[in-house]
């Protein structure tokens, strides 16, 4: 397992930045060709990130100041206008294991948790008893508590993990228990007192059932949940424990294999499961940046210094405005500087005379707005500022001496803008940077945070029950909403028109092999957030685990679960009032057999088509059908929809899925590949409640910049919808693309087209536009076209207030965005905004976009100022977040 290598890595701190490190600069990737295939990204085991330790805007540095950063090559610090110190963090990986076995005397059982990473590990745990409902913990009986346990309030125990002997790798804790006791499950989370980090399961505890059945929220999972299954249950943690970006260590595949064998062995006596774990540790290295103004030349000097050992190359440039576009400044450059692809400069940091530090001085003209850089340690290791460029504001430097106060406030403003990542992270990191000095305090904070989380969970539970038990709505409310809702007419292009879609999976969901069951647990939660439609992953047998390379269409046992589990899931989703979309891949299908030339184009299973079902224009697959009616997807034989028998079979299949599984509608994969008219045919035959197609191609760019006018792009999507005769909606890729540019580059003017309407499909055919900001391809662990980081909520504030049918990505729902998204959804529902709502754009300027929707909801995104007019309507602020605000009429 890869984890072993990592152990050795950890014991050799000198190997810290070895070339295995993750490539942080992702090469640009075309959007079209790779969509259904997971790209083998090189993922490594070491990842560094920078966090701002603090930003101090010094006006006149005192002597102590100079002492602190005396390593700067600055004789007089009078002119320092900006200074930052970034601690370098290392991400350590190790493993932790959970074992259940019989203790020596064969009567009692023993539950063991161990962790290979150094640290002060604490098991924070409790139990639940038979007949308990909900997710509450109880304190375990006294006899179960290992020595050294400390009770936390009245429902948990904290037990430190200890090394059995000095030579051991693992810190571990053993808990003895009697299997005939009333204990139904052990719940735990692991935390590290050193860093204050908690290791949890999606914000929940790990649950280790000790009996064959568990009553959970009234859903009896029944006999399926014996000892044998829960190794599978544990499997899902692996995705969680690993930070998403760094998660693709080989260990995962291995553990999946090992799990397989376990699942077969249902009456397992005990079990042993290992998982990877990551931990961020401050390694003590720092990168310091200071900006000063040279009194002699009037130029600005940027001093960069670090104590990272070895050769460090600065990859740098300057920018002229807030958009932070890299430009090469005029010479002179420091020694050892080369020009890199006409885009940036590279400078090797020079060792300092004192100690093992290296640094460089950059002299720049004063008109530059900011200084951008990343550090390159070797060919594969880049150090960035939380996935972004480091950014040092320079503008404040141009002010004349004597106006210190003013210049300082300017630079503060700029620098605060420059931190594109959430303030949350910033402060988290700041505190974690300090945390080792005050572990005692940290502990209390942790308790507090866990309590806040627990409160949130309890509230969510109470909410879902109260909500479901509301039988009568007060009369007034009913009459109010009735008047606002237009007559509901259901059509497959729009549903009721009030639909809000949830994408119920991501690129990793197949890994647990029990996604259906996992999602089932979340059904009521998702529904309670206000979603009406959920899109499930492709259900068929597939060559790729994610399901987009279907083989036997009638075999619905996939990596997401079995056909029975799928039915169960669909039933649960229906019970909580959601409609379910099946993800159907109609464009292509993987063959079972080779033809006489050795080419894979003969199908098996119930639809045992031959090569006549394959389009003729892809030489790879030697199809004998007609030419494709759309674009080709080159990784598998594309199906020839012009064949009568193919269409008949597909219609029958869709009908079967409706009947057998209970799907209410479809998400149609890669509809660029065949004519929309066929889709119309399929939809008319299967009569879905709602259908949406994925028509994804590239936006228009000129010289690398996105064109303001994306009419041709949206025209292609609209053409497709038209071809389906409006029986299907389509994902509004145009809107996503324009949001990217608008948000990333602070060009909010892009959000209005020449006619003052929304520039995406939603501006032309709102009722058929399914707006979204991320999906399993664009985001998740593929990240082919990721929405600008930290700006997701602006994106949601846009799509969830605007017409169209908004779709929210699973990863965002189960993230810290969740409650903001929930609030946006409830604003949408409260005000009856629907797919045809009228939007009036009131502002589309450089730094702010504002619109009023149906005269009931006003919204703005962007850092600029906007308040709704105080006219006849009374606006009250419904919610606000980072760079967005939403108002409703009161």
């Amino acid at each position: 397992m890869a984890a072993v290598t990592i152990d050795s890595l950890l014991q050799n701190p000198t190997l810290l930045f070895r070339p295995k490190a993750k490539v942080l600069l992702k090469p640009p990737r075309s959007l079209d060709c790779s969509r259904n295939r997971k790209l083998p990204l090189s993922r490594g085991s070491c990842l560094c990130s920078f966090n701002p330790r603090r930003t101090i805007h010094v006006v006149r540095a005192s002597s102590s100041e100079t002492a602190l950063i005396g390593n700067f090559d600055i004789s007089s610090s009078d002119d320092i206008l900006y200074k930052d110190i970034f601690p370098v963090k290392r991400i350590e990986k190790g493993k932790f294991f959970i074992r259940l076995d019989r203790s020596k005397d064969q009567h009692d059982w023993q539950f063991t948790v161990g962790c290979s990473l150094p640290g002060k590990w604490i098991l924070h745990w409790g139990v639940s008893y038979l007949g308990d409902s909900g997710s509450e913990w109880d304190q375990p009986p006294k006899g179960m508590r290992p020595p050294g346990s400390i009770p936390i309030k009245d429902y948990a125990i904290e037990t430190p993990l200890k090394k059995l002997s000095e030579g051991d790798i693992f810190h571990e804790v053993k808990i003895d228990f009697n299997p005939i006791s009333e204990i139904a499950a052990i719940h735990f989370v692991l935390k590290d007192e050193e860093t204050g980090a908690w290791y949890q399961h999606r914000g929940m505890d790990f649950k280790v059932p000790l009996v064959d059945y568990l009553e959970d929220d009234g859903n009896i999972v029944g006999a399926k949940r014996g000892f044998g299954v829960w190794s599978g249950a544990l499997q899902q943690f692996s995705n969680v424990l690993l930070k998403s970006e760094a998660s693709h260590a080989d260990s995962q595949n291995n553990s999946i294999e090992s799990k397989d064998s376990k699942n077969k062995n249902r009456c397992l006596e005990g079990f042993y499961e290992e998982q990877s774990i990551v931990k961020e540790v401050s390694v003590g290295n720092l990168v310091s940046v200071a900006v000063r103004k040279s009194p002699e030349t009037g130029k600005v000097v940027v001093c960069l210094e670090t104590d990272i050992p070895g050769d460090v190359v600065v990859h740098w440039g300057v920018c002229r405005d807030d958009a932070k576009i890299w430009k090469i400044p005029a010479a002179p450059y420091p020694p050892e500087t080369t020009v890199f692809k006409n885009k940036a400069l590279r400078t090797l940091l020079q060792p300092k005379a004192t100690g093992n530090r290296s640094g460089a001085l950059f002299t720049l003209d004063e008109e530059h707005f900011g200084f951008l850089f990343v550090l390159k340690l070797d060919d594969n290791t880049w150090l960035k500022f939380k996935e972004n460029d480091f950014y040092v504001p320079l503008l404040g430097t141009s002010s004349v001496p004597g106006q210190y106060g003013q210049s300082d406030s300017t630079s503060e403003e700029i620098s605060s803008k420059s931190y594109t990542d959430g303030i949350i992270n910033e402060i988290r990191n700041l505190v974690s940077g300090l945390s080792s000095e005050k572990s005692l305090k940290t502990k209390k904070k942790e308790v507090q945070e866990s309590i806040l989380q627990e409160i949130e969970q309890l509230a969510a539970e109470a909410y879902s029950i109260f909500r479901s038990s509301i039988t009568t709505v007060p009369d007034e409310v009913v009459s109010e909403t009735e008047t606002t809702k237009p007559a509901v007419k259901i059509s497959s292009g729009t549903g009721t028109g009030f639909e809000i879609l949830c994408q119920g999976f991501n690129w990793e969901s197949h890994k647990s092999r029990r996604w259906y069951m996992e999602l089932k647990e979340k059904a009521s939660e998702i529904s309670s957030l206000g979603f009406t439609v959920i899109w499930l992953p492709p259900p068929t047998e597939s060559v790729s685990p994610e399901g987009y390379m279907p083989k036997d269409l009638y075999n619905l046992n996939s990596r997401y679960g079995t056909i029975d589990e799928l039915k169960e899931l669909v039933k649960s989703l229906h019970e909580v009032g959601m409609k379910v979309l099946g993800d159907v891949v109609l464009n292509h299908r993987c063959a079972h057999f080779k033809n006489q030339n050795g080419v894979w184009n003969i199908f098996g299973g119930r639809l045992n088509w031959d090569d006549r079902a394959v389009v003729a224009d892809d030489p790879h697959f030697q199809g004998r059908g007609n030419k494709s009616s759309g674009d080709n997807f080159h990784a598998a034989p594309n199906i020839d929809h012009s064949q009568e028998f193919v269409r008949k079979d597909l219609k029958e299949w869709l009908g079967w899925l409706r009947e057998e599984i209970g799907y209410d509608g479809w998400r149609l994969d890669f509809v660029r590949g065949f004519w929309g008219g066929y889709v119309k045919d399929y939809l008319e035959a299967s009569g879905p409640y709602f259908a949406v197609g994925e028509y994804w191609d590239s936006l228009s760019y000129t010289y690398g910049e996105m064109d303001h006018n994306q009419d041709s792009h949206r025209q292609r999507i609209v053409d497709w919808i038209n071809a389906t005769n409006g029986t299907a909606g389509a994902f509004d890729v145009t809107t996503k693309g324009i949001l990217h540019s608008a948000l990333e580059r602070c060009e909010y003017w892009r959000l209005s087209d020449q006619k003052g309407k929304p520039p995406g499909v939603v501006g032309w055919w709102p009722s058929r536009a399914v707006t979204f900001i991320e999906n399993h391809d664009t985001g998740s662990t593929q990240g082919h076209w990721r929405f600008p980081g930290g700006k997701e909520m602006q994106g949601y504030a846009y799509i969830l207030t605007h017409p169209g049918t908004p779709a929210v990505f699973y990863d965002h729902i189960f993230s810290h965005h969740r409650s903001e998204i929930a609030s946006l959804i409830s604003v949408r529902n409260r005000n009856g905004i629907h797919c045809r709502s009228l939007v009036k754009i009131v502002k589309a300027e450089r730094d702010v976009y504002a619109a009023i929707i149906d005269e009931k909801v006003a919204m703005k995104i962007g850092p600029g100022y906007y308040e709704p007019p105080s006219g006849s309507q009374r606006w009250s602020l419904a919610l606000e977040g980072r760079d967005y605000k939403v108002w409703e009429t009161s």
């Binding site: 603090r54 805007h57 006006v59 540095a61 005192s62 102590s64 100041e65 602190l68 860093t195 204050g196 980090a197 908690w198 290791y199 949890q200 399961h201 999606r202 914000g203 969680v240 424990l241 930070k243 998403s244 961020e280 210190y404 300082d408 959430g422 303030i423 402060i427 700041l430 505190v431 300090l434 945390s435 000095e437 005050k438 305090k441 940290t442 209390k444 904070k445 308790v447 507090q448 945070e449 806040l452 627990e454 409160i455 309890l458 509230a459 539970e461 109470a462 909410y463 109260f466 909500r467 038990s469 009568t472 189960f814 965005h817 969740r818 409650s819 609030s823 409830s826 602020l877 919610l879």
Partner: protein, 536 residues
């Protein structure tokens, strides 16, 4: 996949809060600058962002605490002395127990109680309905309520019980069936308006001492109810149960049912109608008129009053200038009408304090906030509700005096209402009325507890906070009310933030010393005077 590494929060400086700590109480410092910090963003919308806000706040807090350290230190003894204890209660669903004495949505309430406890809320308010308990005259079934009381006790929360001798329409909880049956044949046990329409949600105060209920007077029936409650709940009284509200009329409030529809925030309500037209009320009026030497005035109520939904000036009674309310007749009628209400209140509260006086519970009565038309001279809404309070007369003197006499406390609803959010033309002023009642209560040394009218009023939480922390802080506030909306993502986070913002100031005096140590370490450059100026 989701990242599950949870960093320790940055709430370094507020670690004393220990939200989960069992005996956390809310205390407030006066006008201390941290209040501001923690309430910078009202209406937070979500759990996470809220937490992040705390983080943010916590961070700022640090800097502040560091730099203003010497000042705070000198201030801190005074601050800790001035801390007042505030107890926050949350109302349980009105139908927590209903038909057949079963506990409704027990699981949700269970989870809710836990969440509230963790949040540091002191207790919950439980409405106990006459119509649920006394299904047969003199036979009481408390089982459902006992179960709830046990849940509350188990959760470590306090309980405030509201004894409800009225009916509720939403959710529907009627009066006891046997009472309704008597009412069918004998409608005069209910209030009636000028058109003879009866209000059947509670008994008329005129029958308090008449043996209309199978040979018993309503007061005797209420007494039996209260005594049975006392003996049944004796294990809880004084420990878990810390307060009891005596139901005094419609919606439990001391008033006439002058408005048939509950006032909705944001809409203009009419003046309401006098409710003196049932035979028993008319008898009382007649006697009073005869005793005052004006028998002709005792034949009915004012002939020139507008109807329920009308504005005051649609008829002459409430006119600002020259309205009949200012005439000798007006004074005669209003004096009688309001004194009957006060006497009714006195009957029930003296009953309650005689029963519960020997226990440790406080007895409360609820006085409504009839804030519509407060800016007119006549205050018509208050007059029809039974409060003879006008521009020239403080009608709450008699009320407060009556509460003081019975050592009872007043619950005032509507602490979430602000003038700003009232419709422009309603001439309403909840804030001024509240201030008037509170001043009057202070004068009579009657303690005031607060309540909100409805959760979700615009700016409600801010307004509540203003009322709670103002110059004249209140010691108990009951927030209405637990249910789907309460826990919904659009409401609960702001409530959480509200609660935490109330509790925050408590930390500061104790927290400072350790902050200092840390902060100097973390901001080593803080000796620089200029930094001080910028961050402080």
């Amino acid at each position: 996949m989701e990242v599950s590494v949870i960093r320790s929060s940055s709430q370094a400086k507020i670690s004393k809060t220990e939200l989960g700590c069992r005996d956390l109480r809310f205390c407030f410092g006066k006008s201390n600058d941290k209040n501001k910090i923690f309430s910078r963003k009202p209406n937070s919308v979500c759990f996470d962002s809220q937490i992040s806000r705390f983080r943010k706040a916590g961070l700022r807090f640090t800097l502040k605490a560091v730099h203003s350290d010497p000042i705070l230190e000198s201030k801190s003894p005074a601050t800790s002395k001035s801390l007042d204890r505030l107890r926050l209660f949350v109302g349980l669903p009105l139908d927590a127990v209903s038909d057949g004495n079963s506990v409704n949505h027990a699981r949700a309430i269970g989870a809710g109680l836990k969440a509230l406890k963790l949040l540091g809320v002191e207790g919950v308010e439980l409405p106990v309905w006459w119509g649920v308990v006394e299904n047969e005259m003199g036979k009481y079934d408390w089982s459902g309520y006992l179960a709830v009381a046990e849940m509350v006790q188990k959760a470590g929360l306090k309980l405030h019980v509201s004894l409800c001798f009225h009916a509720s329409s939403q959710p529907r909880i009627p009066l006891p069936k046997w009472v309704t049956k008597i009412g069918e044949s004998q409608s005069s046990i209910f209030f009636a308006d000028r058109s003879g329409q009866h209000y059947q949600q509670c008994l008329s105060l005129a029958v308090d001492d008449l043996a209309v209920l199978d040979g018993k007077t309503p007061v005797q029936v209420y007494q039996g109810f209260c005594e049975s409650f006392k003996s049944t709940f004796s294990p809880f009284i004084g420990s878990t149960i810390t307060g009891i509200s005596m139901g005094l009329g419609p919606d439990g409030e001391l008033r006439y049912p002058s408005h048939h529809k509950p006032a909705k925030s944001g809409t203009i309500t009419g003046v309401g109608e006098f409710q003196c037209y049932d035979t028993n009320m008319l008898n009382l009026l007649k006697q009073y008129a005869e005793a005052n030497g004006n028998p002709l005035w005792g034949l009915g109520g004012p002939h020139d009053a507008p109807t329920y939904d009308q504005a005051p000036n649609l008829n002459s009674f409430f006119k600002d200038h020259g309205g009949s309310w200012e005439s000798p007749y007006g004074d005669f009628f209003l004096s009688w009408y309001s004194s009957e209400l006060v006497s009714h209140g006195n009957r029930l509260l003296s009953l309650a304090s005689s029963i519960f006086g020997d226990t440790e519970v406080n007895v409360y009565g609820k006085v409504p906030l009839m804030h519509s038309w407060y800016k007119t001279r006549a205050h018509p809404s208050e007059l029809t509700a039974g409060f003879y309070n006008t521009a020239s007369r403080n009608g709450y003197e008699a009320v407060a005096e009556m509460f003081a006499r019975n050592s009872c406390k007043i619950i005032l609803p509507g602490m979430d209402l602000s003038d700003e959010h009232q419709p422009h033309d309603s001439l309403s002023s909840p804030e001024s009325l509240l201030a008037q009642i509170r001043t009057t209560c202070n004068k009579h040394r009657v303690e005031v507890a607060g309540q909100n009218l409805a959760s979700g009023a615009p700016g409600g939480l801010e307004q509540i906070k203003k009322n709670m922390l103002g110059e004249n802080p209140i010691d108990l506030f009951t927030y209405q009310r637990m249910g789907a909306h309460f826990f919904s993502p659009e409401h609960f986070p702001s409530f959480t933030e509200f609660v935490r913002s109330l509790s925050q100031p408590e930390l500061h005096p104790d927290d400072l010393p350790s902050d200092e140590a840390e902060a100097t370490e973390s901001v080593q450059t803080s000796s620089d005077p200029n930094i001080h100026l910028q961050t402080a």
